[in-house]
């Protein structure tokens, strides 16, 4: 029997559609992502969609006795080399811009935090096509 080259560990894509401080989605997704990595799984990418893009705002400033989910996620992503993408259409609508988009739309500031990039839904389609599992974390009604 011939051997087929198949990755031993399944790759996951995490999709977050709920905003921090409005929903539990980014916090639960964080715990899930942490557990995956601790168990030796691979996280292919994190994709922020809809209200979830609020996680990538460098301007999130919760009180000092609350968790800063933006910082926590940024640390996790950078430490593990996980690409994280905020959907461009969702991001622009909700006032999340990188330097390039701020320049393009002549806005006064950019606020995309480090560790995240802005790209199109094609990145999510790519995830659907290539990741073994795509797990969604929604904000609820």
């Amino acid at each position: 029997m011939s051997e087929t080259a198949v990755s031993a560990v399944p790759g996951y894509t995490i999709v977050i559609t709920g905003a921090p401080y409005v929903s539990q989605a980014p916090a639960t997704a964080f715990a899930f992502c942490r557990a995956l990595l601790d168990s030796g799984h691979v996280v292919d990418r994190v994709f922020l969609y809809g209200d979830g893009v609020a996680l990538a705002s460098a301007l999130n400033t919760p009180p000092s006795d609350e968790t800063n989910w933006t910082d926590r996620w940024q640390e996790l992503l950078v430490a593990n080399g996980i690409p994280a993408i905020a959907c461009i259409a969702s991001a622009l609508r909700r006032g999340l811009l990188n330097e390039q988009e701020a320049h393009r739309y002549e806005r006064v500031a950019a606020n995309l935090t480090g560790g995240f990039t802005i790209a199109g839904l094609g990145e999510w389609v790519e995830a659907v096509a290539t990741s073994d599992r795509v797990i969604y974390f929604h904000g609820g009604a």
Partner: protein, 115 residues
């Protein structure tokens, strides 16, 4: 089970952006030649209501966006038959097939995505 992703829209066409962003997901899958189906259920069947005029509330008429779905290659569009009745959506998009979305229905898809 097919490789088709099912995108579910269960929010009304106005007053909530989740449906629009779910539709964008379906259109993106179709644009990249990935098999995709749409299901309208609950309040989402109002997307199929004829005679929408979004400009009255300074919004785009989303049923026109839906009209692009076929053009982009969304081959299957379904609507929950009970919700069509409940919301009295008569004369829905003739392209939307009325179905009873039960376990067997959902089991036909590789993944079900609902925002």
């Amino acid at each position: 089970m097919s490789a088709t992703q099912l995108i579910v829209i269960d929010t009304p066409p106005y007053g909530d952006w989740r449906g629009r962003e779910a539709l964008d997901m379906a259109l993106s899958l179709a644009a990249f030649d990935r098999p995709v189906a749409l299901l309208f259920r609950g309040e989402g069947v109002n997307w199929l209501r004829p005679g929408q005029e979004g400009s009255a509330i300074s919004q785009k008429t989303v049923s026109r966006n839906l009209g692009a779905a076929r053009m982009f290659g969304v081959a299957e569009v379904y609507a929950d038959s009970l919700a069509l009745e409940r919301f009295a959506v008569n004369g829905p998009d003739p392209e939307a097939e009325a179905v009873v979305p039960n376990a067997a229905f959902y089991g036909d898809f590789s993944q079900v995505v609902q925002l």
